[in-house]
Symmetry: C2
Amino acid sequence: MSYEDSGKTTTPPRMADVAKLAGVSKMTVSRVLAGRDVSQRTQKLVHEAIETLGYLPDASAGTLATGRSEFIVALVPSLASSNFADTVRGLNDAVSGHGLCLLLGDTDYHLEQEALLVRTLLRHRPVGVMLTGSAHLDETRRLLRQAQVPVVETWDIPDDPIEQSVGFSNVAAAAALYEHLHQQGYRRIGYIGGASVLDHRGQQRQQGYLQAVAAAGAQPRVMEYGESPITMSHGGESVKRLLEKWPDTEAVMCVSDLSAFGAIMECHRQGRRVPGDVAIAGFGDFEVSRYCTPTITTVSVDPYRIGRRAGELLVASAAAQRLGLPRAQTCDVVEFQIMAREST
Amino acid sequence: MSYEDSGKTTTPPRMADVAKLAGVSKMTVSRVLAGRDVSQRTQKLVHEAIETLGYLPDASAGTLATGRSEFIVALVPSLASSNFADTVRGLNDAVSGHGLCLLLGDTDYHLEQEALLVRTLLRHRPVGVMLTGSAHLDETRRLLRQAQVPVVETWDIPDDPIEQSVGFSNVAAAAALYEHLHQQGYRRIGYIGGASVLDHRGQQRQQGYLQAVAAAGAQPRVMEYGESPITMSHGGESVKRLLEKWPDTEAVMCVSDLSAFGAIMECHRQGRRVPGDVAIAGFGDFEVSRYCTPTITTVSVDPYRIGRRAGELLVASAAAQRLGLPRAQTCDVVEFQIMAREST
DNA sequence: AAAAGCGATGTTACCGGTAACATCGAGACA
DNA sequence: TGTCTCGATGTTACCGGTAACATCGCTTTT
């Protein structure tokens, strides 16, 4: 055990300590840290003092004095979904280069939890907030509006945007997938998704399916089962139930690639060939869909890019706000793409 | 657009505003928020004022005044790995109930980046820090020691612990998997992992393999390929190379389930049966391993639990520190378990 | 040579809370 | 009735930085 560990409670060094050691005023130390005009000689003295003492400036004090923090808030429905983890990663990559760091919140798919997190995290006066989805409580909107903080909604195209957004239409994407299957000749097409109305994106995909079914003049076959986040086991159970209820189903669309994979494995267990007996498509273009057998037809959406773009917008908005400029109102639509693979 | 949006830059309300509206002093407002003894009538007045103004206390000011923040820092090598995302989720679940929130950092498997993040994030005076792994730069250790902040290292059992730890021996786990395969009768056992020395856990698993090989008096067959985080495609390529170099290999251990899955799919493409022609085992018990065909033999480790436990330890340490008590020095060993499945 | 300009540094006040101590009024008690 | 006690509330100072302005010495301008 080293010396510092021995129970002594020494106060960590402050800027005043650095100033005293360097023989200058606090303000000069502050200027050196901010990279403002200070003579070479003084800079060197101050840096040496900082090094000697192991000084780390206190962020709270800085934030309080300037009214500006270094936080970006990121709220996701669940970190257990690699989709959202990737989005957070993209966001982080976009903002960390600007000296910003991430305050992470997990809403667990509950809007009340989202509102609570917004309330809690806004107390840190973040310079930007990334939300997932476009469904929010009025309270959430009110809090964000009052805080006058730049906001980006992701993973959707909001009807009533708070400010900016980066996403795609889950309705349109699901409908496009249906049409792709229809073009391939499939007619009796089912859908499996979660039973929770809280998963707004899941609900929208289902809605896209229903719209496409209606447009094709067909009958819907929807099997709702399991709570979000949807896993492989949900997919297996769902496809079993769906095929029991509608045995002549030719193709199944799934709310995510994970459930599609689970569904395919269940079909294999039941001796059904995919796509020979039943075709199965997913959503999200997860890694597994590119490497499993059969490879899975899916909708590709690049979650990392969504997060990255959201981060760029927030950085830009924060800069604009600092300069007193009006903030942009971008609605950034990211492309989705139907990936036709072996499973359909 | 509502009134607040109309370009006017109104300052958000402060505690002084609340106090004035309620007809009391700032201190009384502060007491109400802290839930200290204030008369019912005054409490009601204050709460109404808070509600009316939409007041949100400023966390920086509070932190500065009390010297206590509400942050827990979480550093992971990569959020792209669901393992670490799950650990972060567990950590979040453990600490969010105590009013703490997560400051997230992604080290990208680089110790220099870790040190930089520690330096940056310590400026926010977190009440606890969760690190991944036991390999850290001296600078990282020095910074953490000087900050006197509770630290938990995860995913390993450190030889030289900074303070506390929650994890398991990656060496022992890999060796145990080797022995399991050996008991099943496999003799010519290979190993595939990443080529990057930065992935310390991967290196340790390889070391465990090498130790077990030596103990069994066999010859090692190691194929290193790809940068961390290791993906399915790395597994496919690796197994191809390994089987080209040592065609009579009977079994292959993989650094992760993802590479194991990729390896199995590659074998199928080559017309090799798994486990008939070659057995393949993974590491981590990812969801895919339980649902794919064949199901994958692996080492199960529960990343969520590691994070959760780390969070509990940090909360306890933070509480102890606040009361001036000595902090515990727990080295928490979480169980790993060999999951024998169809692939071996 | 006096005034003006300018770079480098110091001084003061303030950001928005909270700890610690002061104060005040009402009921208890002698 | 006067003093003591105690709960409720107010006052003051301070946490650790930074903005804004003041100051100082030296060079430039006329």
